[in-house]
C-alpha cells in the first residue's frame, strides 16, 4: 500500500525551476512543500554545467552551474521544504494526486497545487533519423557533459559535433581542454544556434571549424563510430547531392535541440501548446487546468537559467495564492515569432513576456496586434533565435477586452555569426 500524504504544494522536478518554485512557495506561506527529484541530487543540469555565465541577470555576478545550484540547495535547507531525491513521479491525475516511488517505498501525495518543473530532454539521433548502423560513440551533448564533468569519463578522442547550440559549443571547448580533438561543428541552418559569446570563446579560441548549412547524413562504423558523412544542405535543410564528404571520428555529439518533458502533464490532461511542447501558461505560470502550474523548460525552453528562476518564483507564489481561473488574453505567435511564453495574459500588470524569434534579424520591430490593429510596438536593434526577447508586461498597454492577440517580429535577416 502506498503511503498517503497531503501537501499544500508539490513540485515535480528539482532542477533550477523546481528549486526556485519550492523556495518561493515556502516563502509565500505554504505550510507543506514537497520537492520531488528523480536524480540523487538536486540542481538538475546545473551541477554538470561547470562553465561560468549563470546568475548575471539576477545577481549581477557570474557563477558556474554548480555554484548557482548550491546556493539554492543551501537556501532550501534553511526552510521546511521536504526535498525528496531519488524519487520518481510516475503518475499524475487531474485531481492533483501524484504517485511516486523512492527507496523508502511508494507514495501517494494529494496536493492543493502542483508545480510542474520536469525540464526537458535532449533530442536524440533517433529523432533525426540519421542513417547507418548503431555503433557506440553517439552521445547527446548533455550526456557527454555529464560523463566528463561528473562521472569523469572522456566519451571519445576524435569528435564531430552536430548542431551549434550552446551545449554543443561548450562541449567543443570542454573536450578540447581535456585533450580530445574536436574536428568540426556542423550546423544545418545558415546561422548560429547558440550565443555569439560561446562561438568566440569555445570555437574561435581553439580554431575549431564550424560549417553552416551542413548536416550529418550518415554514421559509419559497426561496433564504434568510425566516420560520419557530412553534406551541404539547401535552404530547407535537404541534403544536396554531390556535396558529401567523409570525416573520420570516433564520436558524434548531438546538440540539436531540447524537448519539454510532458508525459505527466499529458496524464493529468493539461492542455499543451504545439509550439512550445509544454502547457499553455499565463504570467503566473498557471496552466489551463486549475491548481496546476508549469515553470522553466517544461513550459518552454529558456536560454538563461536566470529567466527560469524568475518565472519559477512567480509560479511558486501563485501556487500558494491559487486564484480561481478567469478570462485571459490569448497570445499567438505571428510572423517571425517562434514561440511566446506566457501565451495567456490574466492581467498584464506585472511579470514578463519572452519572445523567441525565428531568425537572426537587424532593425527589429516587435508588434502586438488586436484584430486588425497594432496597439503596441517595440523597436530593438537585433534579435537572434538563441536569445529570447524579454519584455515587462507592465510596459504593454493591454486592451480592455480580453481576446486574441498576435505578436509579430519584422526586420532584416542576417546570416552567419554577425
Amino acid at each position: 500500500m502506498p503511503r498517503s500524504i497531503r501537501g499544500d504544494v508539490v513540485v515535480i522536478g528539482g532542477g533550477p525551476a523546481g528549486m526556485a518554485a519550492a523556495l518561493s512557495s515556502w516563502e509565500a506561506g505554504a505550510k507543506s512543500v514537497f520537492l520531488l527529484e528523480r536524480n540523487e541530487y538536486l540542481g538538475g543540469i546545473l551541477p554538470q554545467c561547470i562553465h561560468p555565465g549563470f546568475g548575471l541577470q539576477i545577481w549581477g555576478e557570474e557563477l558556474t552551474g554548480p555554484e548557482y545550484a548550491e546556493i539554492f540547495i543551501e537556501n532550501l535547507n534553511r526552510t521546511g521544504v521536504e526535498a525528496m531525491t531519488d524519487t520518481a513521479a510516475l503518475e499524475l491525475t487531474p485531481e492533483r494526486i501524484v504517485k511516486a516511488v523512492n527507496p523508502q517505498g511508494a507514495w501517494e501525495i494529494k496536493a492543493n497545487s502542483i508545480i510542474l518543473s520536469m525540464g526537458c530532454r535532449e533530442r536524440t539521433r533517433g529523432m533525426l533519423q540519421i542513417p547507418g548502423y548503431r555503433p557506440a560513440g553517439i552521445f547527446t551533448a548533455g550526456l557527454a557533459q555529464y560523463l566528463v564533468n561528473i562521472a569523469g569519463y572522456l566519451p571519445g578522442k576524435d569528435i564531430v559535433i552536430l548542431g551549434s547550440g550552446d551545449i554543443g559549443l561548450i562541449m567543443a571547448r570542454r573536450l578540447t581542454l581535456e585533450g580530445a580533438r574536436v574536428k568540426m561543428v556542423v550546423e544545418i541552418k545558415n546561422s548560429l544556434s547558440g550565443l555569439v559569446r560561446n562561438y568566440v570563446q569555445c570555437i574561435q579560441d581553439f580554431n575549431i571549424p564550424l560549417l553552416f548549412s551542413h548536416t550529418v547524413t550518415e554514421v559509419r562504423g559497426k561496433e564504434r563510430v568510425e566516420a560520419v558523412v557530412i553534406s551541404e544542405v539547401d535552404e530547407e535543410g535537404n541534403p544536396l547531392s554531390g556535396g558529401e564528404r567523409e570525416v573520420e571520428c570516433d564520436t558524434l555529439l548531438l546538440s540539436v535541440g531540447l524537448i519539454p518533458e510532458n508525459e505527466l502533464s499529458r496524464q493529468a490532461k493539461i492542455p499543451l501548446s504545439p509550439q512550445t511542447g509544454g502547457p499553455w501558461v499565463d504570467e503566473d505560470f498557471s496552466t489551463d487546468l486549475e491548481g496546476f502550474f508549469a515553470c522553466g523548460n517544461v513550459a518552454s525552453v529558456f536560454d538563461l537559467v536566470d529567466y527560469v528562476t524568475l518565472v519559477a518564483e512567480r509560479a511558486g507564489r501563485a501556487a500558494v495564492l491559487a486564484r480561481p481561473p478567469q478570462e485571459k488574453h490569448i497570445l499567438r505567435a505571428g510572423e517571425g515569432v517562434h514561440t511566446v511564453i506566457p501565451q495567456r495574459i490574466r492581467e498584464g500588470k506585472d511579470g514578463f513576456l519572452f519572445i523567441r524569434p525565428q531568425k537572426s534579424m537587424k532593425g527589429v520591430t516587435v508588434s502586438f496586434w488586436e484584430r486588425e490593429k497594432i496597439f503596441y510596438q517595440k523597436k530593438i536593434s537585433i534579435c537572434r533565435p538563441s536569445e529570447m526577447i524579454k519584455l515587462d508586461l507592465a510596459q504593454i498597454p493591454w486592451p480592455q477586452e480580453k481576446g486574441e492577440i498576435k505578436v509579430e517580429i519584422k526586420g532584416t535577416e542576417i546570416q552567419g555569426i554577425s
Binding site: 581542454l177 559569446r197 554577425s418
Partner: protein
C-alpha cells in the same frame, strides 16, 4: 618605405562579445597603436584587451579521492592568460585532491605564477 609599413601592420576581424549585439570589428594593429572600426567605446576597450592580453576564466574538474563523486569542479579566481591555458590544463591534470571539498575554498594558489587561484565550485562530501 611602403614595404616596411605593411610589415608592421596587422589587420584583424573580431566579433565583439561585450553585449548581445555581437558587432563585427575591424582592427588595425601597428607597432604603437591599435585602431578599431565598428562597435562602441566598450567594444574598443574589449578589443584592446583581447589583442594585448586575452584572458579567460578557466573551469575544469580535478580528480578527488574518497569523494561521493570522482571529480570536483573548479574555476580560476579571475580570468587567466589565454595563451597559457594549455599549460594550466596540463598542470591541473596532475593534481588530485582529497574529499571533502567545500564550495568557495581555494584549492591551489598562484597558478603558474600568474597570481590567479583555483576555487572549488561544488561541495563534494566524503564517501562513508
Amino acid at each position: 618605405m611602403k614595404l616596411k609599413e605593411q610589415k608592421s601592420r596587422e589587420f584583424l576581424e573580431l566579433i565583439c562579445i561585450v553585449c548581445p549585439l555581437g558587432c563585427s570589428l575591424s582592427v588595425t594593429k601597428s607597432d604603437d597603436r591599435i585602431r578599431v572600426r565598428g562597435g562602441c567605446k566598450k567594444g574598443e576597450k574589449y578589443v584592446k584587451e583581447e589583442i594585448t592580453n586575452p584572458r579567460r576564466v578557466v573551469t575544469t574538474t580535478l580528480r578527488i579521492k574518497n569523494g561521493v563523486w570522482p571529480r570536483v569542479p573548479v574555476r580560476t579566481s579571475s580570468p587567466f592568460p589565454r595563451d597559457k591555458i594549455p599549460e594550466l590544463m596540463k598542470f591541473l591534470s596532475s593534481l588530485e585532491v582529497e574529499a571533502p571539498q567545500k564550495r568557495g575554498e581555494v584549492i591551489a594558489k598562484n597558478l603558474l605564477g600568474e597570481g590567479v587561484d583555483l576555487v572549488v565550485t561544488r561541495t563534494i562530501e566524503r564517501k562513508e
